[in-house]
Symmetry: C2
Subunit: 195 residues, 2 copies
DNA sequence: GTCTATACAGGGATAGAC
DNA sequence: GTCTATCCCTGTATAGAC
């Protein structure tokens, strides 16, 4: 790597975040050093502190941005007509959104325990808001008699775990296309809630 | 903690493993130091090396034992009569076995990336054998026409993710008993495969 | 805005006394 | 079988030169 000359105001910050995201996802927060992140960006370790207060803030900011993006992206999805359509929209949205940002998703699920208590509370609240989206769909469907869901909270957790699990095994080089995966999961979800 | 006197041949080894399991599950492999493990056991850090070759072996042994236990425990479950009964037996077994050892399960899922490449291969092979158990049940059911499963590999991954997810939210102090959780998941699984 | 240099704590692992 | 002492490395973070 050649040494950098001149300034990079405005672009080094995002590059620090990108490098941290990639490295945290690959090796885990605790296993990654500030020196490694700096090397990835092409600066010295000390320079990172111009862009982040400390390592913990780097993790917290990544997780918070990810969850805010997630909620914002969901709100941009057109409202479906009725519980069944909304459930299908949610399923497709969840899979597509998560497959598109595997590193951020991985960190959000694996590094909760690396958050300091106050940061943890904030992230948990954001995650809860997203789970509530699905739970409301299931509750509406059950109330309308179109779903058979004896326990909406349990079903919410079960379905989210199932959907998020796609990230652990899906590979673009594999047998199935993303669209095909979406279709198959939609089938399973629909049947699981008795729609 | 009072200082220990005398020898503890035969019991310190298991205590080291137990302490490592608890700490790795709570804080993550990379975040836990040998000194912390030693403190938990009540010995000095150097003494740990009488019971393990190094920190990596400690992790590998924990994961390998867990997966061997899992396979052995499954083999002790009575064979069900037909795919539907076998699927229910698997569902109940998986939930019960996993809820009973949350730390080992957590480590097995979260610390794959902390394994050195050769150890990783061994663990992945063991995990694959367990997934094959479910896949075979689904394939048999599909072949017999009692399940509607367009893609058995995908369904296997989806169901295992769903079932293992129980560990992330279930609390004994919560609303639902373990038996009730098993019942509800059995319903969802049965419906998901169109049984 | 980035560098070098450095402070200081803590890491894994080993040697040798008891 | 466990201890103390230690080696050597790496960690985060800061200070001050350029």
């Amino acid at each position: 790597m050649a040494r950098k000359s001149g300034s990079h105001a405005g672009i080094t910050g995002p590059r620090v975040r990108d490098a941290a995201e990639r490295l945290f996802a690959r090796h885990g927060y605790a296993a990654v050093s500030m020196r490694q992140i700096a090397a990835e960006v092409g600066v010295q370790a000390g320079a990172l502190y111009l862009y982040t207060r400390d390592k913990q803030s780097l993790l917290f900011d990544l997780m918070q941005s990810h969850l805010r993006d997630l909620m914002q992206a969901w709100q941009a999805v057109p409202e479906g007509d009725g519980p069944a359509a909304r459930l299908e929209a949610f399923t497709r949205f969840h899979i597509r959104h998560h497959l598109a940002r595997p590193d951020a998703v991985f960190i959000a699920y694996m590094e909760l325990r690396s958050l300091e208590p106050e940061n943890f509370k904030v992230i948990e609240a954001l995650r809860k808001r997203y789970e509530d989206v699905l739970e409301e769909i299931l509750r509406d469907g059950a109330a309308a008699g179109v779903f058979t869901v004896p326990d909406t909270k349990l079903a919410t957790m079960a379905l989210i775990a199932m959907l998020t699990g796609v990230n652990t095994w899906y590979r673009d080089s594999g047998r199935l296309s993303r669209d095909r995966v979406e279709d198959l999961y939609c089938d399973m979800v629909r049947r699981a809630v008795g729609a």
